[in-house]
């Protein structure tokens, strides 16, 4: 088990990591989710032992490893950039950690062949990494991390520089490949969808702080605060500042939204409503829907979906609609909210009420 206790990392005058505490179980898959510069890489470097924390303690199976040099720790790391040894062949690249560990020739041969077969690198073993495509280079780096049999495998946005198809393919395989090794698997990503696809546990990061750590679906459904919810939503969560009076939320432009059952008991006061882009509808989703007026700012069409950026009061919203819609910029549009799908955050940004699970999705 890898345990971080109140770990802080300061570089110059900037605090990269502030007071992070978390415990990662053996054999678990952990996703670090956060936008760029939120501290994912810094946190991984601390876990690997490439950097020393300014304060706090890092324990591996109960023993502090803060002073242990990275060579002595049994970790493996894969970077977002494809990092291999350009002068060595793919075979030697994969064999490198085993060679350093002084394993015998037969073991090295067997391990390298096994990893190469798993990552489909067999035809390229005699080439050098620069003669491979990006995906093959990254698979080489992954194979090297795999053969080591490390206690802790850190993948820092390993698929970010790959094309879409390869990313899909590798993402599905990665957890399986590392699952049987019983390692602590840490995966950093900026994409909420990637975290959901990988499953496991997710830690959401924002400005060097872990805002929430728990099972991925749990974090997604019940974010503890607004920051977590915004991190775990792409495009970011839409927000609407409202005042609760009785059983209604009153917003700007005379909006009145009936409070959902989960928020009925909340005291009167100011709240922030959060709703995901696919819960901002262009067509009324049902009789309970609340209609709002908004002005179109930008539209983006991806093919099967349309993103419509809207201005409502001082807020910029994004609506995700299926199909290709022809919507003109500066058009005034009526959009709909489903009160059942609202997150309610208090004025302190902590979650006050989350939408109930849908019984039949």
């Amino acid at each position: 088990m890898l345990e971080l206790r109140d770990v802080t990392k300061v570089v110059g005058r900037e605090t990269h990591i502030r007071g992070v505490s978390m415990a990662l179980e053996r054999g678990s898959l952990n996703v670090l989710l956060g936008p760029t510069r939120s501290g994912k890489t810094s946190l991984m470097r601390l876990m690997a032992g490439l950097d020393r924390p300014a304060s706090g303690d890092i324990l591996m199976d109960g023993k502090s490893v803060v002073g242990v040099p990275v060579q002595k720790r049994n970790v493996a790391m894969v970077y977002q950039q494809f990092i291999n040894y350009p002068t060595l062949t793919v075979y030697e690249n994969i064999a490198s950690p085993l060679r350093v560990a002084g394993r015998d020739k037969a073991t090295i041969e067997a391990e390298v062949r096994k990893a190469a077969a798993l990552l489909r690198l067999e035809p390229y073993l005699e080439r050098t990494p620069l003669e491979l495509s990006g995906g093959q280079q990254q698979r080489t780096a992954l194979a090297r991390a795999l053969v080591k049999g490390a206690d802790l495998v850190l993948l820092d946005e390993p698929l970010a520089n790959l094309d879409y198809k390869l990313r899909e393919e590798l993402r599905a395989e990665l957890p399986k490949i590392f699952a049987e090794s019983g390692t602590i698997f840490v995966y950093a990503t900026t994409e909420p969808s990637e975290a959901l696809l990988l499953g496991g546990n997710t830690a959401t990061l924002s400005e060097g702080r872990v805002t929430q750590y728990g099972p991925t679906p749990e974090v997604f459904r019940n974010p503890v605060d607004l920051v977590t919810a915004r991190t775990f939503s792409d495009p970011p969560l839409n927000m609407l500042k409202v005042t609760k009076r009785g059983d209604r939320f009153h917003g700007p432009q005379d909006t009145a939204i009936a409070a959902p059952a989960s928020a009925m008991a909340l005291a009167d006061g100011t709240y922030v409503l959060g709703f995901r882009p696919h819960h901002l509808y262009l067509d009324p989703p049902g009789p309970q829907a609340v209609a709002l007026k908004a002005r179109v700012a930008v539209t983006e069409i991806t093919g099967s979906e349309s993103f419509v950026h809207l201005d409502h009061g001082g807020e910029r919203w994004v609506a995700l609609a299926h199909g290709v819609r022809s919507i003109e910029v500066d058009e005034d549009l009526t959009v709909y909210l489903d009160p059942q799908r609202l997150f309610v955050f208090g004025s302190d940004w902590l979650l006050a009420a989350a939408p109930a699970l849908r019984s039949a999705a």
């Binding site: 990275v70 060579q71 790391m77 990092i83 040894y85």
Partner: protein, 268 residues
């Protein structure tokens, strides 16, 4: 169209002007002194190898080449060996005054070598190093180590730091990583740095001549001392000049693909 037809003129003229003195040197080296001094000929009328024979048979001549090569190779090895760790430190670590120190290194090249002749002569005399190969080799380090550090730093900074970290994560110790992974990666940089050290040490005359008398006398010094009772021996001098160009030409051949990057101090 008209422009393209004559576009070869300027480069051709340029190359002719560049090569003319070298051609003339080669031309003279195959002539007799009599022919050189009496008539103007575009190529040797009576080609002779006598000039070269003199150099390869007279120890006073060929020892000059041996001395030069010994101290140049010594200097190249010392310069690169010292510059490698220094360049790694400059490229990978931030420390107090690193940028100033790095720039200060280069300022060593800004003083004319003549400035250092007197202190060097005094110092080396005191240590009894005058007229030894190592004396010249060490003296040339003053110019070559900073240059090698600058070139190597440029090449090293082109290698992502993540490669170092991946090696440490894989379990490599620093010396093992440096020799097994890192040095092969910057092999071309090491080659270019060695080439520049070789060249500067090879063409440097003032310090080399001041610190030597007979046993370690460089070829360039030998060439300046060929005035005999019968005047200058033009043919032999020309042949010596031709032979002086050859080592540089050989070395440049091996690093020809990286020279441009080397002149940019590895920063391309």
């Amino acid at each position: 169209m008209g422009r393209a037809r004559f576009s070869w003129i300027v480069p051709t003229l340029y190359i002719i002007f560049l090569l003319l003195p070298i051609y003339w040197l080669v031309n003279m080296s195959f002539k007799t002194n009599q022919e050189i001094l009496s008539i103007f000929t575009l190529w040797p009328q009576n080609p002779t190898l006598a000039n070269y024979r003199v150099i390869f048979t007279d120890p006073a001549w060929y020892n000059g080449y041996i001395n030069s090569i010994i101290y140049v190779v010594l200097n190249t090895v010392i310069s690169v060996a010292v510059a490698l760790p220094a360049a790694y430190a400059f490229s990978r670590y931030r420390f107090l005054g690193d940028k100033h120190l790095f720039f200060w290194l280069l300022t060593n090249r800004m003083a004319p070598p003549a400035v250092f002749v007197l202190p060097f002569f005094q110092l080396y005399s005191a240590f009894g190093l005058i007229d030894t190969h190592i004396a010249v080799a060490i003296a040339h380090c003053l110019f070559n180590v900073p240059l090698a550090v600058w070139i190597l730093e440029g090449f090293m900074s082109g290698v992502p730091k993540e490669i170092d970290e991946t090696a440490y994560i894989d379990g490599y110790s620093f010396p093992r990583f440096f020799t097994k992974i890192f040095m092969p990666l910057i092999a071309s940089g090491i080659g270019v740095a060695a080439f520049f050290c070789f060249m500067f040490s090879w063409v440097e005359l003032l310090i080399a001549r001041t610190l030597t008398t007979t046993d370690a006398k460089p070829i360039a010094a030998t060439m300046t001392r060929t005035v005999s009772a019968s005047g200058l021996d033009w043919g032999v001098l020309a042949a010596a000049g031709v032979l002086t160009i050859i080592p540089g030409a050989l070395v440049i051949y091996f690093v020809r693909n990286y020279i441009a990057k080397g002149f940019a101090l590895g920063r391309v």
